[in-house]
Symmetry: C2
Subunit: 476 residues, 2 copies
């Protein structure tokens, strides 16, 4: 791809392919039908010695890669959290790759740093968060949550940055509190930070899958009495399994009274606060120490782009900053975001967020979120009215949890197997892709809506498939 | 950007812009001339209420964003490590954004997982590494290095994953060993993992800026005698300041005899081993526990794509794996890379590496690396022959460290200031961008070559600028 003509032809071919893909993603099976090893077997064992023409590479992309893709951008991808890439964001990612900026220092691209400041302040205002919060872009909520936990650890004043945690007689065990529905990245972060799984305390949830505040207060008090050091409690706005929301304001009261960091994971649920009618979702978060929101989940920005808002930016800097001579910069430069996290290298991610926010406008995003929530409510209505089907969790947002119970079935294990068989049938059909999870030990089916091209017909189709699958599946 | 026509016009405009950018990047000042706050002041304080047409957004991209860009893709970007984005990789990033795949589980895109396996095995063979190594893609070397350190900690068998590090009387201090030239991400990782800066032991380097093996042996033995626990030693192949390479084979002997993890940071230098004449660079690394190589540095893949090769993949899984119900998968699926790191979300990064490896071929990459090394050697020759200039470090690869000493100058502080003034003149010119660093306390000028479009004229131009700047700058 050395000549201008070849590059131009390549660009045109990719453009056509992408246009076609967005026009008719439904032609593909949502869940790839590959078997393990298929692609490995289809490709050579060595890189080519000499360069190949673009068309040969792209032919293989279409012939070998695409059949191995699970189509996250398919309107009937209902698994995990459904996402979608706004078309304009594809162009932003192409531009970011062409510029190939590393936004580690302000001077290594002022516009990347400042566009991050501007777009995250726009987003903060859209979410109704107070201006005490400063946002920084990270790749994933896993890293944002880890970063918040690291800052929480630093805030304890135990000199862990300098002295570490091992071999110190003066350190108490550090404790992290979460609910059975908190996302697993928090526990992973606690493991990495040397807190240890045994010190990750699971606070029980109520019937609506929300953390019980009194239980948190009790756990913290017990730990303090036992000489341990509470480090961080995590509240979730929109849990992964059911989209339940913890009572953040109450959890804040309890943690504030005990001087414990409160981190709010609003990765999925946060963007719903862009809707005035869901603004309350983040009310309690206004007093939190840190909040994660993922534009790459439900804001039409392709992976990866996760935002961490913190109140104490200087603490975050103290937690991570290390400046070797080669990265020293004048005092008069702007802020260097390499000082605020584990990663030195930082892609120009704000560009795609800026493109999407401007192209859709606040009203365009609101419209899409409302449509998804309405579709989920409509689906929940269908399920609730259908004999043999039951809704298993509140569904205020765009996810519905439910199951099928064959007439007369009593044995819970058999009912679980029956529902797992239903999911397998749906996913093998290629027509839709959905997840199952477990609530209170029972298998739960789960439909998540969040793709901007998902229509009522798509949801009706998966509902038809579900009923047909239930009828075909041996009863318990 | 709702209609097909608008999307097509937008794509065409971006295509033209990128083609133009690659054709004539030299028209831009390399280092942005923005002042802090310029972009923030130029943009509105709120997101637009209603969507805007693509052309308005793109006009602002050209008018407001581009002047704030420091052009990493400019052929006269000689700072840090010079990089460049292969043109074909831009298309791969656009396709990855359109597919919007999250390669967290094998089933959430078999092709993304397996293309990662295939391309990293290709790369392993290109580097001449034994098949005991298994590669995984991460975003940055910071994360790859952190992951290696986390696995090293887990390998100690101290039950840190479950019990954590704080409040345990049974844990010795954990020790990490590096040289004064090791990249700062290792120390940052050690801080995050609870090792603590005080337990990061700097082993002295020799006159060629390579770690002194006997000093490492002594430090480990002293720590063992003091009851501390050596956790990891880090050897670098191509350090950031001078591209020096530590004596990896000797460091491996010492660490192996003492059962200490050896991590090799070959982020920049590793790719040079693709050249038969530099294959020796990784010889000692064959027996290491882990190795980081960055295709996004010197392999024409845009940021971000860093590779960690490990020998004990199962250990890495044990270090990080946590599987919530919603992410449970059948045993018959392929490998789930979410289990091997901190991040759940994983972009489809292997696609751009595959495009570049196939488009360039091994020979195309070799050709580019050889050209860069030859340019650096030529520049070093010019500097060495010019009165008043001195080379300050060996320069086997594509980076040259040097300084100017005005006739009769004796005061080292004044000579430092003189050289910093030279860098400022170069960088303010917009014609080139370079770094300074410090070696043995003295300011050192540094030219890094690594952009595939850099020509001999570009290097000659910066050499002219350097001499002119030295002449203009008040002598010490």
């Amino acid at each position: 791809m050395q000549s201008i003509d070849e590059a131009s032809a390549a660009f045109a071919r990719v453009e056509d392919w992408i246009a076609d893909y967005f026009r008719d993603t439904r032609r593909y099976p949502v869940l790839s039908r590959s078997r393990p090893g298929d692609l490995v077997a289809a490709l050579p064992t060595h890189a080519p010695q000499d360069g190949e023409p673009f068309d040969a590479i792209f032919d293989d992309f279409e012939r070998l890669i695409i059949p191995g893709i699970t189509h996250w951008n398919h309107p009937r991808f209902f698994a995990y959290f459904a996402i979608s890439s706004g078309r304009i964001a594809v162009l932003a990612e192409a531009l970011a790759a062409a510029l190939d900026v590393n936004a580690m220092l302000w001077r290594t691209s002022p516009a990347a740093t400042e566009l991050e400041d501007v777009t995250l302040d726009w987003l903060r205002l859209m979410l109704g968060l107070p201006d005490a919060f400063h946002g920084i872009v990270y790749d994933t909520a896993s890293i944002g949550g880890f970063t918040a936990l690291a800052a929480a650890r630093e805030s304890l004043g135990l000199d862990i940055r300098a002295r570490g945690m091992a071999g110190r007689a003066d350190l108490p065990a550090l404790r992290v509190y979460l609910s059975p529905h908190t996302h697993s990245h928090i526990e992973k972060g606690a493991i990495a930070l040397g807190v240890g799984r045994d010190n990750v305390v699971t606070i029980p949830a109520d019937d609506d899958f929300a953390m019980i505040p009194a239980a948190l207060a009790q756990a913290i008090d017990d730990d303090l009495a036992a000489g341990m050091r509470p480090m961080c409690a995590v509240a979730t706005v929109g849990t992964t399994s059911t989209t339940s929301t913890d009572p953040v304001a109450q959890l804040r009261e309890i943690t504030a009274a005990r001087n414990v960091w409160l981190h709010v994971d609003a990765a999925y649920g946060g963007p719903a606060a862009i809707l005035p009618e869901f603004r309350w979702l983040l009310d309690g978060a206004h007093a939190a120490d840190s909040i994660v929101v993922n534009p790459h989940k439900w804001m039409f920005v392709p992976v990866d782009l996760s935002v961490l808002y913190v109140r104490d930016l200087e603490l975050l800097r103290r937690t991570f900053s290390l400046i070797p001579d080669i990265l020293a910069t004048p005092e008069t430069d702007g802020r260097n975001y390499m000082d605020y996290g584990l990663q030195l290298g930082r892609r120009f991610r704000a560009l795609k967020l800026w493109f999407v926010l401007r192209s859709y406008g606040v009203s365009g995003i609101q419209e899409r979120l409302r449509a998804h929530i309405a579709l989920a409510q409509e689906l929940a209505g269908w399920i609730a009215r259908e004999p043999g089907w039951e809704i298993l969790a509140p569904h205020p947002l765009s996810v519905v949890c439910f199951r099928h119970v064959p007439a007369g079935a009593r044995d819970e294990v058999a009912i679980d197997d029956h529902n797992l068989a239903i999911v397998d049938i749906i996913n093998a059909s290629g027509e839709a892709f959905m997840s199952s999870t477990r609530l209170l030990g029972r298998v739960v089916l789960r439909i998540a809506i969040g793709n901007e091209r998902t229509t009522r017909d798509d949801v009706a189709l998966v509902w038809d498939l579900l009923r047909a699958a239930a009828a075909r599946t041996p009863a318990a």
